[in-house]
């Protein structure tokens, strides 16, 4: 068993990046598909 060294702030930063990143992914992907939509 390995000893675990933990920095909690790293976990929260990664968590925040995931929330923001998936929001941007939704925004950009939807915009790209909507651009090419059939009139």
């Amino acid at each position: 068993m390995q000893p675990t060294t933990v920095d909690p702030s790293v976990a929260w930063i990664v968590w925040g990046i995931l929330i923001l990143g998936t929001f941007l992914m939704t925004l950009i992907g939807t915009w790209l598909i909507a651009r090419g939509w059939e009139k």
């Binding site: 390995q2 909690p8 968590w15 995931l18 992914m25 939704t26 939807t30 909507a34 090419g36």
Partner: protein, 524 residues
């Protein structure tokens, strides 16, 4: 029990009354929507798919509702409560990486393919896409297998929350759940299910966001959560916990191979789940504005609520209850979500949350059982014996719905799974791996053939059975769950594309119907 932390409360009169009123309202709503939807269908086809005129709000909320299951609201919090931050990868932090591409890739294509092929179910759509009755039958059997396993966890979630509030034995919790589900499935068919799941999806989105934000405020913010959990056990705040075994289920928390598999699991699960993709069968033809609205509705209701539920909620529950919930041998960590609602918001929030949670379990279960019933009636019996009357199919469908609700009910009572998320994990992975290729990739790759699809279905099912033994059944485990996901996806990929390329392409007539020239297919 550790007296430093809160313990599971004894049910009080106000908790019983609050939960009873909430669930009674849910039951009344389900029956009302079922009765209203009964006026909307007049034939077996309309019972199965409605009139293909449902707009983006109901479709988006229904997709959220079918995806946010009892597992998402109960099991995911339980995983993080048990192992800490490293559990969030598997618990649902990738939800949007799955659910939004589901809209992008499957919404308009599912609707268009089903309409062009005159299909009323996803199985029928795939069978006609590949011009094969044999494949349609094989897929119906495969779906039945996976959905049956997956449905067991839904009942456990419903039983868990009812027990947590009322203290009544599980048999009553589960019996009430299946009677509710049977009633509105029989009355409302596809439309009733779609409406009920949509209302539930909207409600869950609001309640999930409310609880997530409330729990963070109650805990005093990120710093307080970190301090409290570091004092309990530092590994609870680690993004990867190498102290856990690197084979078996815990590979998803302890190793990079396992953690990297989790976004793939969530992507293929969401895009491949038949009960998710089925939500688009009854959708109207969307304008650009309506498509953007559909994406927004799904992001709003399935995004933030689930991401909080599968991460910070489990951590705050651990901060408040320590390991005390694990002392309950029957339900254990699955009580983390409802107990968190009670701890931060008292009886009021608990009642609202539990109503949503019972709705979550019932809604997703209903969506799956409806597909299972149609797998037999439409995709096997009607397929091979087309002269069977619609009335016979309807009555058989009513019986099958009762049967498919009863079987997981019995199985859950006789052998309750230890941890909801663990039990359901592999069935969900298999379902996603097989149907991601067989359904959605087949919408885009015109060269896909029935040989590729058949090989994928057979391999995916066999690999899932092997994985169940190798990852969860064998002691000690032979493989990690993440490794198993790579074996599943890799094998399905090779067989789907390889099998298609070595066999005869689909007919020109089919290609012409489903894959029109580029100019007219824009926007799909």
């Amino acid at each position: 029990m550790n007296p430093k932390f809160l313990s599971i409360p004894t049910p009080t009169v106000s908790m019983v009354i609050g939960a009873t009123i909430g669930v009674a309202c849910l039951l009344a709503l389900a029956v009302f929507l079922g009765v209203m939807a009964k006026k909307q269908w007049k034939s077996f086809d309309e019972y199965l798919v409605g009139k293909r005129d449902i707009g983006p709000w109901v479709t988006g909320l229904a997709l959220t509702g079918s995806y946010i299951s009892g597992w998402a609201f109960c099991g995911s919090t339980a995983v993080v409560y048990t192992v800490g931050f490293s559990g969030m990868w598997f618990a649902g932090i990738w939800t949007l990486v799955g659910i939004i591409p589901t809209v992008w890739l499957a919404a308009t294509k599912t609707r268009d393919f089903a309409q062009k092929l005159g299909a009323a179910t996803i199985t029928e759509t795939i069978g006609r896409r590949f011009e094969s009755k044999g494949l349609q039958t094989l897929i119906a059997a495969c779906m039945l297998f996976f959905l049956f396993i997956y449905s067991v966890g839904q009942l456990k979630a419903a039983g868990t929350v009812w027990y947590a509030v009322t203290g009544l034995p599980a048999v009553w919790c589960l019996l009430i759940s299946i009677i509710i589900a049977w009633l509105f499935l029989v009355l409302g068919g596809y439309m009733g299910t779609q409406w009920f799941i949509a209302v539930k999806g909207g409600f869950l989105g609001c309640v999930g966001a409310l609880l997530g934000v409330w729990a963070l405020i109650y805990a005093g913010g990120f710093g307080h959560i970190s301090d409290a959990l570091m004092a309990q056990k530092p590994a609870l705040m680690a993004l990867k916990d190498p102290s856990l075994p690197k084979i078996g289920m815990t590979q998803l928390f302890s190793s990079l191979v396992g953690i990297l598999a989790t976004p793939v699991i969530f992507f293929t699960m969401s895009v491949g789940f038949p009960h998710n993709v089925t939500r688009f069968l009854g959708m109207k033809k969307l304008s650009r504005r309506e498509f953007v609205l559909l994406c927004f509705v799904v992001w709003l209701t399935a995004g933030i609520p689930v991401m909080l539920d599968c991460s910070s909620n489990g951590l705050v529950a651990r901060m408040i209850f320590g390991q005390n919930l694990l002392a309950n041998k029957q339900w254990g960590a699955d009580l983390a979500a409802p107990m968190l609602a009670w701890a931060v918001g008292g009886t009021g929030l608990l009642s609202v949350y539990l109503t949503g949670l019972v709705g979550a379990a019932l809604g997703t279960l209903s969506a799956m059982v409806f597909i299972m019933s149609a797998n037999v009636t439409r995709d096997i019996i009607k397929l091979w014996w087309p002269k069977t009357s619609d009335k016979s199919m309807l009555y058989l469908g009513y019986f099958l719905i009762a049967l498919f609700l009863f079987l997981p009910f019995y199985f859950t009572l006789q052998r309750p799974p230890a941890l909801l998320a663990i039990f359901m994990g592999l069935a969900a992975m298999g379902l996603g791996a097989v149907f991601f290729f067989v359904t959605v990739v087949s919408y885009y790759w015109k060269r896909a053939t029935k040989l590729g699809a058949i090989l994928t279905v057979i391999y995916g099912t066999a690999a899932t059975l092997f994985g169940g033994w190798a990852v969860l059944g064998r002691k000690p485990a032979l493989l990690g769950m993440g490794t198993m996901e790579w074996i599943l996806i890799g094998g399905c990929f090779v067989l789907y594309f390889g099998g298609s390329l070595i066999s005869k392409p689909p007919s020109e007539k089919l290609i012409g119907t489903l894959f029109p020239a580029r100019a007219s297919s824009k926007g799909a």
